[in-house]
Amino acid sequence: MQRNYLIVAVIAAGLLVFAFVTASSVGNFGITLMSGLFQGMLLFLVASGLSIIFGLMDVLNLAQGSYFMVGAYVSYSFHHSPEMMTVIPNPDLRFLMAVLVAVGIGALLGGILERGLLRPLYARPIFQIVLTFGVSLVLLEAVKFIWSTTPYSWTELFAFREGFFELFGQRFSTYRLFVIAMGFALIIAIALLLQRTRIGIIIRAGVEDSEMVEALGVNVRAVFTLMFTLGCAVAAFGGAIAAPFLGASTSMANTFLLPAVAVVVLGGLGSYIGTAISSVLLGLAVAVVANFVSSPAINQPVWQSLTPMILLILVLLVRPSGLFGKGS
């Protein structure tokens, strides 16, 4: 266990030193770190649901990005619909409600998927890929049907969306801080749920040995349904939180699925904390490299896009089960 943290510390220290050396000024260094943390948390909002479903349940849910997308669309339309504006005139309260509704719809869709379609497939996991791919196509078409293909950008202002703060001479939306805070809140909430509650103990035991837990009189099937629902609800939550920043578009589902899969594997399957740490590491790495390669002297922005893949490849070659994964 100690070695994992050592490797994480080495990577993080390396990134920080690299960022400091390549930064044009202290201000630039601070802005890079801020941006990396933000991107990492944004990534974590997508990956956290996948970490539960893919990491703990071993179901590679290709529809995960679609739940993120649905969350964004639902929260957008709830917040922007004229009816809701008259019912809940307070924009802050309306945003809170929008997030709750998005989470509810995500959970509902997730529960339906698990109970209705996925359940017969636990015995042949590879077919889950085809099934969830089919579900992602259906969800995408449903979204196109309901909201059309035009992307929406968030126009309504509310508390966090309105403010700005200044850091090293550059203006940032306070919403970035809000996203970072929500990311941390999600990490702590899910970690507490898994580590400190009875249902969390059952979930972790069910992942280890579902037959044994079933023999102890626990309804493991219901627990798995609950987990899957939770994973989808968390994905929708992420979409709802990200929507004021990213807007809502049909390309969200696929853009964020791959990085999310990469982050979960980077952190190690089955480790929720691993996903959180690797999200932040990846966000930092991308921001640091972006700052370096987009400077006029170098101007090779392609390396920014290559960074996640290179980091993943290197880490897997050193740690074949990811940073915090069990096994080997």
Binding site: I126, G134, E141, L269, V302, L306, I313, P320
Partner: protein, 377 residues
């Protein structure tokens, strides 16, 4: 799907009458369509148009996808190695042949030959490097590793100015014998022969001692290792052969569309063979071909059609992805081992009811074609 029980060529021909019929049928299909519709298989009025030419084009695409899916099946269905980076080899083939034709001064004839050889070497080398990583990486970790490598190349070639980044470049100068415009029928036969040869080659491979070890790795790698097999070596062989076959399909795809671009390296060419293999039946010989044919033909034929039921008109083109998604869901739930896998099982169950148990030799052969449900992460 039975291995010939009688020895000699005659026995093999009789046992494989079904495949033989299909091969002969496909060989004469352009002429048959030409006879029925009146459009010559060589084009109409010297131009590459007409029904026969159109169908040759559709079938060429099917053949190439079938080769790609069969190569994927060697890894996924027979060796139990899950890769999410198969598009890398497909794209490598396309890029190498494109670079050889457009960026060298060898002349078109020599460029094609040199390009194919280099493409095979490059894809085998890439496969070797990626395969070596499987020494340490297992299951999903290996799959995501290959995904990362393939995405790396996809993004890199999508930004590389030399190959015109995401626009890609066109292949302008091709020898007549392999030009899909001037000699569509010739190209059709090249693609058909590639598919048949791939099919026969993979069947030969799986029935060989090497193939037996691959199946053993699929069933239980630890056990195969304990018996004394160097499983890494056999996995490397499987990955390299699959990579080279995928590169061949990629070469012909690039020549057929006369276009080389990063889309050849894209996720589509990983997901498509994966879906085709699973839906057709992973770990069966005919499964990937059936899957490729079924998915691609429905795609090509239904995409732009309209269905009129009573007064309502359903525009399939607009809701095509929806139909495809529902189709995937239904197939997965209804056919638990893919089309061919379920068919084999159903036939085996019927045979078991009507005939006494097969001799031990026949039983061994059936064990080869078990669905790859076990070979999951």
């Amino acid at each position: 799907m039975m291995q010939p029980t009688r020895s000699g060529w005659r026995g093999a021909l009789i046992a494989n009458w079904f495949y033989l019929l299909i091969a002969v049928g496909l060989a004469f299909l352009p002429q048959i369509i030409g006879l029925i519709t009146g459009d010559s298989p060589f084009g109409v009025r010297g131009r590459p148009i007409g029904q026969s030419i159109f169908w040759q084009g559709v079938l060429i695409e099917v053949f190439l996808l079938a080769v790609l899916a069969m190569s994927y099946n060697l890894l996924f269905g027979f060796t139990g190695v899950i890769s999410f980076g198969h598009a890398l080899f497909f794209g490598a083939g396309g890029y190498v042949i494109g670079l050889a034709l457009e960026y060298t001064e060898l002349g078109p004839e020599l460029s094609v030959i040199v390009g194919v050889i280099i493409a095979l070497v490059v894809s085998a080398g890439l496969a070797l490097l990626i395969g070596l990583a499987s020494l340490r990486l297992r299951g999903v970790y290996f799959a995501v590793f290959t995904l990362a490598v393939a995405e790396l190349f996809f993004i890199f070639f999508g930004r590389l100015p030399l190959t015109f980044a995401e626009d890609g470049f066109s292949i302008t100068d091709l020898p007549t014998w392999i030009d899909p415009i001037r000699n569509r029928l010739g190209f059709y036969y090249i693609a058909l022969v590639l598919m048949i040869v791939t099919f026969l080659f993979l069947r030969r491979l799986i029935y060989s001692p090497t193939g037996a070890v691959m199946l053993a790795i699929r069933e239980n790698e630890e056990r195969a290792k304990t018996i004394g097999y160097n499983t890494l070596r056999y996995k490397l062989i499987a990955i390299m052969i699959a990579g080279m076959l995928a590169a061949l399909a990629g070469i012909l795809q690039a020549l057929f569309t006369k276009k080389v671009g990063p889309e050849l390296l894209g996720l589509t060419y990983t997901i498509d063979p994966l879906l085709m293999t699973i839906i057709g039946g992973a770990g069966t010989f005919a499964g990937p071909v059936v899957g490729a044919t079924g998915i691609h033909l429905t795609d090509r034929l239904l995409r732009d059609r309209e269905i009129i039921i009573g007064a309502t008109t359903i525009d399939i083109g607009a809701s095509w992805a929806l139909i495809l998604g529902i189709l995937f869901i239904i197939v997965v739930l209804v056919l638990p081992q893919g089309i061919v896998g379920t068919w084999n099982r159903w036939r085996a169950a019927r045979q078991a009811q009507t005939t006494p148990p097969p001799p031990p030799s026949a039983r061994n052969q059936r064990a080869i074609e078990t669905p790859a449900a076990k070979s999951n992460p």
